[in-house]
């Protein structure tokens, strides 16, 4: 009876932990992973596994070197690794992917203080660095075996390129959903990504505000800017992967519902602009990164009003 613990209330804690949130994200990524294996073959497994392992290793080694508590158990590094792998084509050399992992974890995450302290999305910066360092390998989009031998709008170009060329029509909608077209590992299968998004919302890991605002505004602005297929564009390129899994990153997205809405709309506007007026490759990545940078301001401007709060005179 002499060992009673005394602590400040509350003495009851909720069931959520950082680890089980990250585990839910990984579960939500599973459909897209399975789809990528079916579409692009065994290299998808190799790249995903190597990338996740490299991210975990980077975080572990960094923390050991810096004599900090090891936090790889929270699984956030695994999520970053998987997302990075999803952003490269199946033909990507493994070592180039590892460079991306190192940039993401060491430069973006750990140098700024580890989980919760990065001001931009680590996986996206990793992707940008790989994109500019290994442009050829990063854009060497592979085509699923099911498309081999067919000659149509999707047999040689990605859907976004086909939209820009005005060659894509609604006949291809089914293929966009299934992902049987060229692209990077995790972005092609729309159904799998949407299923993951629904899972995250049901498990209340994310709120649907950012993805819906992002996708909706990309559609509307795409239409305003005169895209040939604004609706199909929503299901093309990295938009779904970005809107569901990247833009919703807690650390780099606003806190309040209004803030999330503003953030989603901003991402959509930028994406539609870049896709229309600049290069379609990397539009989603740069849109989210740019919006990441203004999150502190969005947070300040959309802070909730305290209940009964009286402003100081």
């Amino acid at each position: 009876m002499n060992e009673l613990r005394v602590s400040v209330s509350p003495h009851l804690r909720g069931p959520r932990t950082t680890q089980n949130i990250m585990l839910d994200v990984l579960i939500a990524l599973c459909p897209a992973f399975i789809a990528s294996v079916i579409l692009f073959g065994w290299r998808s497994i190799l790249l995903t596994a190597v990338s996740a392992a490299a991210c975990v290793a980077c975080e572990y080694i960094w923390e050991r070197l810096m004599k900090k508590p090891v936090t790889v158990g929270d699984l956030s590094a695994v999520v970053t690794g998987v997302l990075l792998a999803f952003n490269v084509p199946a033909s990507m050399p493994v070592w180039e992917l590892i460079v991306g992992d190192i940039v993401a974890i060491v430069c973006v995450k750990m140098l700024f203080g580890g989980i919760g302290c990065n001001f931009v999305n680590p996986a996206l910066v990793g992707r940008v660095v790989m994109f500019f360092s290994f442009t050829g390998d990063m854009t060497n989009y592979q085509f699923p075996s099911v498309t081999a031998g067919r000659v149509d709008a999707l047999s040689s170009a990605t859907p976004l390129a086909a939209i820009r060329a005005g060659e894509l029509n609604w006949d291809y909608f089914g293929r966009l959903l299934l992902g049987t077209h060229g692209g990077v590992l995790g972005e092609t299968c729309a159904i799998a990504l949407i299923a993951g998004g629904v899972y995250l919302c049901v498990r209340k890991v994310i709120k649907p505000i950012i993805p819906l605002a992002y996708l909706g505004s990309t559609l509307v602005f795409g239409w305003i800017f005169g895209s040939s297929q604004p609706v199909l564009a929503v299901f093309s390129g990295g938009l779904l992967l970005g809107a569901i899994f990247m833009a919703t990153d807690y650390v780099t997205s606003p806190t309040t519902n209004l803030g999330k809405l503003v953030f989603g709309l901003g991402c959509g506007l930028l994406t539609a602009m870049m896709r229309t007026f600049a290069s379609s490759a990397g539009a989603v990545t740069f849109s989210i990164l740019l919006m990441n940078l203004v999150v502190p301001y969005i947070n300040d401007l959309t802070a909730p009003k305290p209940f009964g709060g009286v402003e100081a005179k």
């Binding site: 005394v6 209330s9 003495h11 009851l12 909720g14 950082t18 919760g116 909730p304 009964g308 009286v310």
Partner: protein, 466 residues
């Protein structure tokens, strides 16, 4: 304002909160009177305000209901003997706050002789009613312990547009208010009638979480016999029973920062508090015993116990069959806002509604990890505060930012800590933040006084020169 009071406007934004588990295991347990303990230790401060002053001496014989300590000021409350027996000692005891407080220990003779002179007080008007409330020794029994007579001493009765009877009982485990509503409905009715008669309360609202349908029914049946009394069944979202939350959810009114419920036209009284007042007015027996929910994973037979005030926690646990496993944490009150104590010798106090003994599994202190900025604390805070931002500002000791974030509004309900996946100690930090603001206010005040003093001296010197 009149229109708002017509009821909770459905268009009002809903307050946040936490979906805590209910664990009302003892809701069906009618309170059982425990045997008279060998001795009781009654602290002189079981309320907010000045401690009571002992009126008995060591060695004196006392009977149940006898005054043993008089109020030590206006904001204070008298204390009565809960057992008959002999005053063994009057000494300092360590309270759960970590401070020492005078306490009267009475060795019980086990006969529970009631003071012969006890008689119902003579209540004829507002003044005599308030006197009776003061003499009853009743304080906020929901947990706050604010002397009820002080709360009811309103300058202008017209200010009171509604009295809200708090039957929300939103803390997990605790069912003592549930039992009051089920077993003492008639005392609550008499209490309402007293308020209506002497305070001309125009409207009485009984707020109950709808996870207690029996209470809602019992109270509705009771309210049907009275005029201007209504029952509001509220969603079971913690902290429904928080004063500001309850006022908002029953009347739509917002208590402004730094103001009292009365400024929003409302007085909130816990249902057990009201029943205790009615009991005293009808019988003359002051507050000497409490229904206490004894529960928690370490308790063998959880139940509601009628315990004399001053009985040790251990005696209540013993009455409940002892422990099924080694308790690792023992609490006054529910798990969300309850206070952990270092041993089981602490006494049942006036405002004790539950004592919980938690086993190893429930007593684990989770290791805090880095904030992932998920915003769950913001989504959980009923007062729309930003607990994670307050924590960050406190860690920088940024007092101005803490003020801007309204850290002082926090009622320490625990929703943020409950929701936090990183298990950060947000409530603890917020308490510290409030202390920091208070210290800064004191410092600024002292500086201003110093400046004024210097200015006066300077003015004095100049005058002397001239």
């Amino acid at each position: 304002m009149e229109k708002e009071l017509e009821g909770r406007n459905v268009n009002l934004p809903k307050l946040h909160g936490a979906h805590v588990p209910h664990r009302k295991n003892t809701a069906g347990c009618a309170p059982v009177r425990m045997p008279v303990p060998a001795s009781v230790t009654i602290p002189m401060s079981m309320h907010i305000g000045a401690p009571a002053v002992p009126t008995v001496k060591v060695g004196e014989t006392v009977k149940v209901g006898q005054l043993i300590a008089a109020p030590g000021g206006f904001v204070s409350s008298p204390v009565y003997a809960s057992v008959s027996g002999k005053v063994k000692k009057i000494d300092d005891m360590l309270m759960s706050t970590g401070r020492f407080m005078k306490a009267v220990t009475i060795e019980a003779d086990g006969e529970q002789q009631v003071l012969e002179t006890l008689a119902p007080p003579d209540v004829t008007d507002l003044a005599s009613f308030l006197n009776a409330v003061r003499d009853s020794g009743v304080v906020g029994l929901g947990g706050a312990g604010f002397p009820t007579a002080v709360k009811l001493s309103v300058k202008d009765l017209k200010q009171v547009e509604a009295v809200i009877i708090n039957g929300a009982e939103c803390e997990p485990y605790v069912t003592s208010d549930t039992r009051t509503m089920l077993d003492d409905a008639d005392w609550i009715r008499q209490g309402i009638e007293l308020l209506q008669k002497y305070m001309q309360v125009p409207r009485v609202i009984i707020g109950i979480e709808n996870n207690k349908p029996q209470c809602v029914k019992t109270m509705s049946d009771m309210a049907a016999k009275l005029k201007n009394v209504e029952v509001k069944a509220l969603p079971p979202l913690y902290p429904q029973g928080g004063e500001k939350v309850l006022i908002y959810n029953t009347t739509g009114r917002i208590v402004p920062e730094g103001k009292l419920p009365l400024d929003a036209g409302a007085i909130v009284i816990n249902c057990t508090t009201l029943a205790a007042i009615a009991k005293y007015v009808a019988t003359g027996m002051p507050l000497v015993e409490k229904v206490v929910t004894v529960d928690g994973s370490a308790v063998k037979e959880p139940r509601n116990v009628i315990a004399p005030i001053g009985a040790s926690m251990q005696s209540l646990f013993d009455f409940c069959g002892g422990f099924r496993e080694e308790p690792r944490k023992v609490l006054y009150g529910g798990p969300m806002m309850g206070i952990a104590v270092p041993n089981t010798e602490f006494p049942v106090m006036k405002n004790t509604n539950a004592i919980l003994a938690l086993g190893e599994k429930d007593a684990v202190l989770p290791e805090p990890t880095a904030c992932i900025r998920c915003g769950r604390c913001v989504d959980a805070c009923p007062l729309n505060l930003m607990p994670a931002a307050i924590e960050a500002a406190y860690n920088r000791r940024d007092v101005d930012k803490l003020r801007a974030l309204h850290a002082n509004l926090c009622m320490e309900c625990g929703c943020c800590s409950f929701a936090c996946p990183a298990k950060r100690m947000l409530v603890q930090t917020n308490k510290l933040a409030k202390g920091l603001i208070m210290a800064d206010n004191a410092k600024k005040k002292a500086e201003a006084e110093e400046k004024a003093k210097k200015a006066r001296e300077k003015a004095g010197k100049e005058a002397a020169v001239k």
